[in-house]
């Protein structure tokens, strides 16, 4: 992987770098890297963090709810949340150009015809970047985006939807005319005896090349489930390498929209330590990961989407002003005139599932994750629960901040994801391999 240059510079509206000749492949930012699914590495906790995490887990097992984690310290409680505008500057959404560049690098052989495999799979974790990434990548390469069928069509097993694929016949492979992209395979099946036919037919035809060349995105939970229905090509599938402390630090460092002559210090609200300073004294590539960021990366198991959400939610400011002070005396240099303190609180209101969570709740959450979100109607169809019971559970989980809506689908929230995953794993439900 090559090193990174500024992620937002020099791109045309389609996302191609203006300074990149069309016959060359763009630079890959060093913190985005696509690797085979089996090579994914879950970031490890620093030793102290591991003990702290184990202690929290133990307390959670013993108590109905970890009250301590819900009580903000008095001093930290005085800090205020940042405005949405300020947050959008400090933690903007991930620029899809960066992972798209990395994906281009990983698919280079395949895109240039040196790899004859008809389809490539890209697996992503919930709240990772891939649902936005693949449509973006499809637009960049002029590929046809295949929308998922309606759940009714999935249940009918209507294979007519496969006719929507434009087959890339031999001899007509000029450019990427026949290339197609399925953003999320999780929406092509339902865990129902009649909801598997379509996805099996799709996978069979796609892997034999009957549908031409394409890229199939798949949520990591659906990938784990579909692996029991179909011999999924685990060694062929790509995923974004886990964001350990160092990658996460670099991501945060490059995410922030910088203001001229201002340095932003992200400081631990409990002890005042600098967690990250942007710009740093160096160029950013040599940024070392603070233990807090290592802990965050490990807690999120390398998922950049949930890590950014945690980071965003933990930012606070002083109640009076923005915490901006002018740099004086010897510390001042030609570039930096102002210093801004942004406080990072440890007292995050992370929704937590108590250990006594009922079985029905676990079934609902598991179904939501396996399908990357479900509408209420289909949830009741797939679970041995009455519709009213499913609805009541969803409402309770929504109020607890564990479930939210994306369109007509209910999904597990980014902040609640780790708690839900941990509960399902403890109870031996099928989980993703990340």
């Amino acid at each position: 992987m090559s090193t990174h240059s500024s992620p937002t510079n020099g791109r045309d509206p389609a996302g191609n770098r203006a300074d990149t000749p069309s016959n060359q492949w763009p630079e890959t930012p060093s913190y985005w890297q696509f690797v085979p699914v089996g090579d994914y590495q879950v970031p490890a906790l620093p030793a102290r963090g591991a003990m702290s995490e184990a202690w929290t887990q133990f307390k959670r097992a013993l108590r109905r709810i970890d009250e301590e984690s819900l009580q903000p310290a008095r001093k930290e409680a005085q800090l205020r949340a940042l405005s949405e505008v300020r947050l959008s500057h400090l933690v903007p959404p991930v620029d899809p150009n960066d992972p798209a560049d990395a994906l281009d690098g990983a698919l280079y052989d395949w895109m240039t015809g040196h790899d004859e495999r008809p389809v490539r799979f890209v697996v992503g974790q919930p709240h990772g970047c891939y649902p936005q990434l693949l449509p973006f990548w499809a637009r960049r390469h002029g590929a046809r985006l295949i929308d998922p069928p309606a759940p009714e069509t999935v249940l009918e097993g209507d294979l007519g939807v496969l006719d929507r694929f434009e087959v890339d016949r031999p001899g007509t492979r000029a450019g990427n005319g026949g290339l197609w992209v399925i953003p999320d395979l999780a929406h092509w099946y339902l865990r129902h005896p009649e909801g598997l036919r379509l996805v099996r037919a799709l996978l069979a035809r796609a892997e034999t090349g009957e549908l031409g060349r394409g890229v199939i995105g798949c949520d990591s939970w659906a990938w784990a489930y579909l692996g029991h229905l179909w011999p999924m090509p685990h060694h062929d599938a790509l995923t974004a390498q886990g964001f350990d402390g160092t990658r996460l630090t670099r991501l945060l460092f490059h995410q922030i929209e910088r203001q001229p002559h201002r340095r932003v210090h992200f400081r631990n609200a409990a002890n005042g330590q600098d967690i990250l300073a942007v710009p740093s004294n160096g160029n950013g590539n040599g940024v070392t990961a603070h233990p807090e960021l290592q802990r965050l990366a490990a807690h999120c198991r390398g998922n950049p989407g949930t890590a950014l959400t945690y980071w965003r939610e933990s930012l606070r400011t002083e109640p009076d002003d923005g915490g901006v002070t002018a740099v004086e005396g010897e510390q001042r240099n030609d570039d930096i005139f102002d210093e801004e303190d942004v406080w990072v609180t440890n007292q995050l209101h992370e929704p937590i599932l108590p250990n006594e969570t009922g079985e029905d709740v676990a079934l609902v959450l598991h179904a939501l994750l396996l399908h990357n979100g479900l509408a209420t109607r289909w949830l009741a169809e797939l679970l041995p629960l009455a519709r009213d019971v499913s609805l009541a559970i969803l409402l309770r989980l929504t109020r607890a901040g564990l479930v939210t809506r994306r369109g007509d689908r209910h999904i597990v929230t980014a902040l609640g994801y780790q708690s839900v995953r941990s509960l399902l794993q403890r109870r031996d439900y099928l989980t993703d391999s990340f």
Binding site: R191, H192, E194, L196, L382, D428, Y429
Partner: protein
Amino acid sequence: MDESIPSSQIFREIDAFTVVEIVAIVLATVALIVLMQRALNWLGRRLHGKRRHLTLAMVPLLRLLIGVAAIVLIVPLIIEPSLQNMIALLGALGIAIGFALKDYVSSLIAGIVAIGEKPYRNGDWVRIGEHYGEVTHVGMRTIDMMTTDDDRITIPHSRIWTDSIVNANNGEPRLQCIADFYLHPDHDAARASEILRDIALTSPYTHLDSPIRVTVREKPWGTHYKLRAYPVDGAQQFRFITDLTVRGKAQLQRAGFQFAATATIADTGMA
């Protein structure tokens, strides 16, 4: 030659302090056992899967160790711990037990054997005689089982001498469940097997990393299908079997399969 041993040589002089000491050891042992049992049972109820089974299975072993430690502490306070004395004491005890407390002690010894052989542990689903249920407590003399009808049954350990113990999960958090389907003999067996396999694959209770198997046997009255799969947790077994049965029947009917029925048997003259 006089081989009788004077009692004064077997037993020590027991003064008030020794009595207090023995009482203290007994009370401490009882308190420790009660505390340990409550703590591990309480913790076990909050855990799931293997951790739960391991925690609950430790209860009888720890109780035995505490009991043995107490005996080791008490015996030297009462008797002179020589080989001769031990033989005399154990012989007397053996005669008493042989006549008066045979069944009781048989259960106690069986309880110790059960700790070693592990025919059942806390959290296991076992069948002893006509009773089937989850082992909720392994005591010194008996085990407690909670049946599916929510009845608590107490069974002495001595049943392991005479009865076969059917253990459905044998210390593992999972156990195999079987849903039976009886179909009319005239059908596509391969298609029926596929449908039943998908039924298990799509049940929310299925532990997907465990095998799913469909076995088929031809009977005089039709075809008997057994759908074998494992639920995520042993406690889900009845909901799991119900789910497999309800959805399996519905799906087979939707696919046009006919079930074996008395009328069919009579019509074909195969009864």
